[in-house]
């Protein structure tokens, strides 16, 4: 009876252990990054308490620093091997860029603005190595902006700003139209996109309430 080669499994075991070490290291950095991101999101979300006040400042320096650390750990061709570890956090950071840009200029950031804010490249052509921003994650961040804007519409009215909901409504409609250009497959992005219509519904209800009472000047 042939004995099976024990070494085969020993090697696999060693590799699995090595991989576990790499993953632990990555997780630790991502945990710190995640914490820093949450602090900044909490910062930015103060806009809901005072929608008419100045736009809350987001400190991107901390995030950039942590992203650089992460970048050093991600080896060139293994981005997609480990990307599940940081994907959520990266999407949150992109949301920070997108939402703060909207609050300042009432538009979405361009690809270049994203790149400059985080000192990372956006992978438009499906070709980048190392740590980068997949364009799908940009799309996710846009959807998060729409989610947050439906809250902002409500809170603006509470704070006596009756003009803003209409602007928000127009913006989200445009965003939706943009997404309709894409051939979305049955994935997470699609599910989240389908959710935008509920945000839009909430926003339109606010616009309706405000205009019904003659609070908007045309």
């Amino acid at each position: 009876m042939a004995q099976i080669e024990h070494k085969v499994f020993e090697d696999i075991q060693l590799r699995l252990e090595e991989e576990a070490v790499v993953k632990d290291e990555l997780r630790q950095i991502v945990r710190e990054l995640d914490r820093a991101t949450r602090v900044q999101i909490a910062n930015l979300n103060r806009v809901h308490a005072n929608p008419t006040g100045p736009v809350p400042k987001v400190d991107f320096d901390v995030l950039r620093e942590q992203l650089q650390k992460l970048d050093k750990l991600v080896s060139e061709s293994q981005y997609y091997k480990y990307c599940d570890i940081w994907r959520n956090t990266l999407q949150q950071i992109l949301f920070l860029v997108a939402f703060s840009t909207y609050l300042k200029y009432e538009r979405l950031p361009t690809v270049i603005e994203f790149e400059e804010a985080l000192k990372l490249k956006v992978d438009i052509q499906n070709e980048l190595l190392g740590l980068h921003i997949p364009y799908e994650d940009l799309l996710h961040s846009y959807i998060s902006v729409a989610n947050e804007l439906s809250r902002l519409a409500v809170n603006s009215v509470t704070n006596g700003d009756y003009q803003r909901p209409r602007k928000i409504s127009n913006f989200v409609k445009e965003l939706m139209a943009g997404f309709q250009l894409l051939n979305l497959k049955n994935d997470n992005l699609r599910k989240r996109f389908d959710g935008i219509k509920y945000d839009l519904k909430r926003i339109e209800e606010v616009v309706y309430d405000v205009s019904l009472r003659g609070l908007t000047k045309d």
Binding site: Q13, Y79, V111, N170, N183
Partner: protein, 218 residues
């Protein structure tokens, strides 16, 4: 307003192309991998193996650099199925375990891209599934009146099971699911071999007794 409008649709235009390219590639890979499934008869298995290797070669050309880890998840089910079948063939021909090295040699002979390799998890899953196939094989052998070959298979499975248990102790996520199924298959074969042995002893006892009676009777 109109200015904002065009920038938004421009933005989405760029994403559209990349997103389509990504989905096309994923679907193409899934499709070509699906054809590798279900090639498991012993009859011209070797010829079929060559066909499958040719398919893998096609797939391997699309999985360069960062794309490897991005799309390997779409290819894995087919690869695992192939490893299972190839390992089964190897066992029947030579009574030995198909090692990753031997697989890689097969790949080299079939001129599959050098950058393409089998991940440990694909290998482990393939070998895990192999034990299910071995179980059916062993039971059939017993049915065909060849309990000796069934016992050989049983020993082979026991060795694989041992190795998997060691790996499970260190990184449970890699094999825990397969291990449960494997344990069930192994128990079944062990039980069948046991029954065979009992029956054999019983039979020989029965065949001895009458002779003794004949000898004692006068």
């Amino acid at each position: 307003m109109s200015n904002e409008n065009t920038s938004m649709s421009q933005l989405f235009d760029t994403f559209q192309k990349s997103l389509d390219a990504h989905h096309d590639k994923r679907e193409r890979l899934i499709k070509s991998v699906r054809t590798t499934l279900g090639g498991k008869d012993m009859e011209d298995a070797i010829a079929k193996q060559q066909d499958i290797l040719a398919l893998i070669r096609k797939v391997s050309n699309e999985l360069n650099g960062p794309d490897y880890y991005r799309y390997i998840k779409s290819v894995s089910p087919g690869l695992e199925e192939f490893i299972e079948a190839a390992a089964f063939l190897e066992f029947i021909k030579n009574g030995s375990l198909l090692t990753p090295d031997k697989l890689q040699t097969q790949f080299a002979v079939a001129e599959i891209a050098e950058t393409f390799f089998i991940t440990d998890s694909d290998y482990l899953n393939g070998i895990g599934d192999l034990t299910g196939e071995l179980m059916r094989y062993a039971i059939n052998k017993i049915g065909a009146g060849e309990p000796e070959s069934a016992i050989l298979v049983c020993h082979f499975m026991q060795q694989i099971h041992e190795e998997f248990e060691v790996i499970n102790a260190i990184s449970p996520s890699a094999v825990s699911k397969k291990l449960q199924v494997m344990k069930a298959s192994l128990t079944k074969v062990e039980q069948a071999c046991y029954s065979c042995q009992i029956r054999k002893v019983e039979q020989s006892a029965n065949s001895i007794l009458p002779q003794k009676r004949v000898a004692l009777s006068p």
